[in-house]
Each structure stands twice: as C-alpha cells, then as structure tokens.
Amino acid sequence: MSDSQGQGPEHEGQQPQTSLEVAELVELDDVQGISGASLWSDAWKQLRTSPVFLISLGIIILISVMAIAPGLFTNADPRACDLSNSLVRPSADHWFGFDLQGCDYYARTIYGARISVSIGLTVTIFAGLLAVVMGSLAGYYAGATDSVIARLTDIWFAIPTILGAIVILSLLGTRGFFQVSFVLVILGWPTMLRLYRSSVLSVKELDYIEAARALGASDFRILSKHILPNAIAPVLIYAAITVGVIISAEAALSFLGVGLQLPAISWGLMISGAQTRILSAPHLLLFPGLFLSVTVFGFILMGDSLRDALDPKSR
C-alpha cells in the first residue's frame, strides 16, 4: 500500500500533471480540495524529489519550448541561406556552422525540434487513444470482442514498424507531417493496446469493479471512472518512452528518404544530408544527432522515472 502522507492544504493544486485524464478526474472531486494521498498524489510526491525525473522533465521542457518558440533561441532565419557560407565550420558567431546550402545550422537545429516533437506527441496521443478505447473493449467485454481485437493486434504486431512504414510511405507521393504521423500511428498502436488490455483484464477482476456493478454503474461509467484511472499507469509509462521512439523513428524514416521531404526542417533530414560528408563536415551530423539523442533520452528517462513512481512493486 502507499505510505501514509501528511494531510493538509499544501497538497491542493498539486495533482500530478503526468496525464490530463488524471488531473481532470481528480479535479472533478471537489468543492473543498482534497487532502490525503491517492496513488497519483503519492507518485507525484515521489517524482518531485527524483533527480532522474527532474532531469528528464528539464530536457522535455527545454525541447518543448524550442518547438513552440524557436525565436527565443535564435534570431537567425533557418531558411535565409547564403551559398557563400556553404559548409563553413562552427565559429563564435555561428556556433553550429553552416550546411551545404549555407544556412545557419544552429537555427535549423533549433527549428528542427518542432516537427520531431509534434510527430512524437501526435503519434503517441492518437495511438494511445486507440489503445485505450480498443483495449477497454477487448479487456472488459472478453469473449468474441476480445478474440477479434486481440488476434487483429497479434497480426498487426507482426508487421515490422520501420519496414512497414518504408513500404507504405514509399507508395505515397507527398510525405509531410500528416502522412508520416498517420503511418506511425497505424503501425504503433498494437503494443499500447496489448498493455492496456492486460491492465484492464487484471483491474476488472477486482472487487470494487464488482461493487460498482452491484450498485448499478453502467459499463461506460465503470470503464471511465473505475478502470481507466487504475489501469492507465503502464500505458502512461510506455507512452513517455514511445514519444522518444517515435521521434527516432521519424528521424530514421527521413534519413532513409521516405520520411519528411525538403523543404521541411527536421533532424532526420539534416542527418540524411550529412551522410555523404561525415568526414569533411562532421558538424552536420554531430548537432542534429546530439539534439535527437538528448530528446529521445529525455523521454525514455521520463518513462523510467514514471515507472518507478507508479509501479507499487518497485517501492
């Protein structure tokens, strides 16, 4: 069981920000604010003092600000290029140097965060929603519904993500944010669905679900209010890691030439452009690669610390 926790007003408004749903559910509660400790406020208490969580949170916030307001980091226009600066090495004025087209590489790297982060988040959110809805149906209703969804997931699971994405994307003429996200959602949902389904399967056996049924709660109410908050933790943890994985998948697809297309600014495209000049202009590979790795690292670290906080067994 979670440990006892001091009660009192100091916990007001400090609900975990880890998930929208949770924050909403907790807020639903109350006229007077809640004291005491739930799984979530317990987790939040642990997270606040966890250095791993704070580091990952710092990285994610930094990258997110970069994505939302790149102007804060650079005054240079990533699309204002001067060929005379082509492949100029990093200097004090231009920290990351210039690329082949003579564009400011620092500005391009900063602006590259936007598409990576938005693809990572969009894909994870949509795949997560799909997983929660389908996983609820499969886990709760068992029987034929479950068999159909679970088998479909198994079959889907057998499609290798990157290979599948290459095949589908190479068939598409234009490949922008929408197409790449769509393909990654299509290929990315099975794991989260399996995770949520198994979580629902274990939660639905618990007495309070039966108690809720005995008191006349509808299936929707049981699924949304009793099962969801108790079953979502593994999916949240995995989702944080997934954001990182999707970001690197997008970079991989762009590198392979089936992801985003120029003139989009993305880390994957930048790395792709660097591949023939790794020895002559290593900065072209170094900077986007570094940003990509740190971002992915941040999300994976976040997933890790969420797991430590939300999994009661790891206490």
Binding site: S35, S38, W40, A211, R213, A214, L215, G216
Partner: protein
C-alpha cells in the same frame, strides 16, 4: 436519511415496472447457475429456492465453494458471462422477475432496490478516489444529483454508519480507513439509495472479532430503521445464530436444509448441518474432541451421484449414492434434502 421518493429515478422512465406490493419481497425459485469452463460444466447452483420478506434476515450457509456467493451474484445480475450462465429459475423482486428484465432496467434496479456488500472492503473500494466521492457517485449515477448535494448525502450516510467526524473523513482515501471503517463506508455506499434488499457477502470475514460484532450490530440497526430484507452469506455459524431469522444450508451448489435458525441449530434435519454444528467448539465440550466432517467438499465438475453429501456422510445407506433426495418438508416451515431426515431429526433430540 430517506432521500428516496418511490419511483423517482434519474434513469428516467425506466421505473414504471409492475411491482406488486403484495408479492413477497424477494423470491428466488429453482435457480440454476453453471460455469462453462474448458474442463467441463461446473454446476455452481442447482435448484436454489428461497423467499425473503421485509425485515427478515436470511442466512445462506455453507463451506467455501458451495455456491453461496454465486447465488447472490446471480440474483444481483453480476455474474461474469461468459463463463457463467443462469440456465434456469427466477428471482422475483415484488413479483418482477429480474432475470427477464432488459439490461438497463436491471442495472437501474441494482443499488436502487437491491444492493450488495462484499467480504473485503479494502478491495471493494476504488483506491484512487476518496471514500466520500465514491458514495456521492452512487447518487450522481442513479439520480443525477448535483455534486454539492451528493456530497452532502455522502456525509450524512457516513454519519449514519457511525463513522466519526464524517465531515473530515469524506475526503479520505480508502487506504486511510481501518478495516472496520472501510466496511462501514461500503455499507453506506450500498444503502445510499435505500434498497429494499441488501445482500451481505461475508461482511465480517476480513475483520477482527470485536469489529465483527460492531458491523453486525450496525447492519441490524439499519435493518430496523429501513425494514429492508437482509441476505447474509457466511460460514460463521456463531454470527448466524445471533442475527438470522432463517437459514439456507448449501452443499455442492444445492440446498440441503432450510428453516428457522433456532430450530435448525437445536435440531438439525440434515447430516451435513449436524456435522457443521458438531464441528464448532463449545465451552461445555472443554477437554473433549471436536467431531469434524471427514473428507473435503466435492469438485463441482464431478458431483457425486445421488446425494452429493453421501461420500462424507456418517449415516449413508445404499440408496444415498443412487437416488438424489429431493427437498422435502419435515416440519412446518422446514425442509431437508435427506432420505433419512426424520432419523436425523430424531438423532438430534437425544
């Protein structure tokens, strides 16, 4: 308390059912429940019948696995299906057969007219929400009560089940409650809508002895106030002797004896009941040996032929393994499923 006005329901219009106020409160007739498993069909209940009147307490007694809980779940309509199926029988509440009702009506009935409390109140409360929220939720789900109003009711209810400082406790989470308080909260939740029938599935098993008594007293007091019918599922014979009016003894999914508790205890009419009573330690037997029932409860996949109890019965004859004894009246208001009920009754008199 009584926030209820008869027939008023937010689930709107679901309620004008043909309740017959003169019909018995709850009448279960020939209930058959089976679980279709990979290994075969488990007959968890075969032909359970009983009647419950208002203000009455009926105890359903039996060993683990005798089908007590399944019979309650069937009546509540919360058997997991698959693998569980009600294959036969009726459960009439004021004359309305609940098994015949479409799902929405049936759901509206749960909590509203018939409610249930569970053995382990720790696991029967949702750990992520405050206790008060969960009680208030019952109002909101059934009646569409506003948040503030529902919360007020929740405090009243906590007060009514004698949780001290209900106003502060309403925001506490289940794990901040002791076992007894959790069971009280559970009782508050199930009584929220003033049900006419309350099924208590081993409500005191997970609690220590002093708290057990408090909970049983609370249930009795609430029953006196609300005139509800109470079905008490238990294997604790001491509890039954104290609070129940009538008892239904179950063995291997079948009813073996039925009648007023006092008479059954003084003079059991079935060898199984006799065995149960003899296996209780009593002060006057100090130094003597307890007489256990030999063997173990049957596997419901392979129920013995004839009388299901015959392999363990001290008084068995050849007929017992061949013919299943029907439930027959032995005394007014009493019935027993034993070929030699009269002989067993005579035994007890000595």
């Amino acid at each position: 308390m009584s926030v209820t006005e008869e027939g008023q329901s937010a689930e709107g219009g679901v309620f004008p059912l043909d309740y017959d106020p003169t019909a018995p409160l709850l009448e279960v007739e020939d209930l058959h429940v089976e679980f279709r498993t990979r290994d075969g069909i488990v007959k968890a209940n075969s032909g359970i019948s009983y009647t419950l009147r208002e203000e009455e307490t009926l105890a359903i007694v039996g060993e683990s696995g005798s089908g007590k809980t399944v019979s309650a779940q069937a009546v509540m309509g919360i058997i997991d299906s698959p693998p569980g199926y009600i294959t036969q029988g009726a459960a009439r509440l004021r004359g309305v057969d609940m098994f015949e009702l479409p799902d929405p009506e049936r759901r509206a009935m749960r909590g509203e007219r018939i409610a249930m409390i569970f053995q382990d109140a720790l696991t029967a409360l949702n750990p992520v929400f405050p206790v008060g929220w969960q009680i208030a939720e019952t109002f909101r789900a059934h009646r569409g009560t506003s948040k503030r109003e529902a919360r007020k009711h929740a405090i009243e209810l906590l007060d009514r089940v004698r949780i001290p400082a209900a106003k502060e406790r309403v925001n506490a989470y289940p794990h901040e409650f002791s076992g007894g308080m959790r069971q009280r909260a559970m009782i508050a939740m199930s009584l929220a809508l003033d049900p006419e029938v309350l099924i208590a599935d081993e409500p005191t098993t997970a609690l220590d002895v002093t708290v057990q008594a408090q909970i049983m007293n609370l249930l009795q007091d609430l029953q006196d106030e609300t005139k509800m019918g109470l079905i008490l599922i238990t294997h604790d014979l001491a509890v039954i002797a104290e609070v129940a009016d009538r008892a239904l003894v179950m063995y291997a999914g079948k009813a073996v004896e039925h009648g007023p508790v006092k008479e059954i205890f003084l003079n059991p009419g079935h060898p199984y009941t006799l065995g149960l009573l003899q296996s209780i330690a009593r002060p006057e037997q100090k130094g003597g040996k307890l007489i256990p029932i030999v063997g173990s409860p049957p596997d419901l996949l392979h129920v013995p032929s004839g009388c299901p109890f015959h392999p363990r019965c001290r008084y068995r004859q050849d007929i017992c393994s061949e013919v299943e004894p029907p439930m027959t009246d032995t005394r007014p208001g009493r019935a027993s499923a034993c070929h030699f009920a009269e002989e067993v009754l005579a035994l007890g008199k000595q």
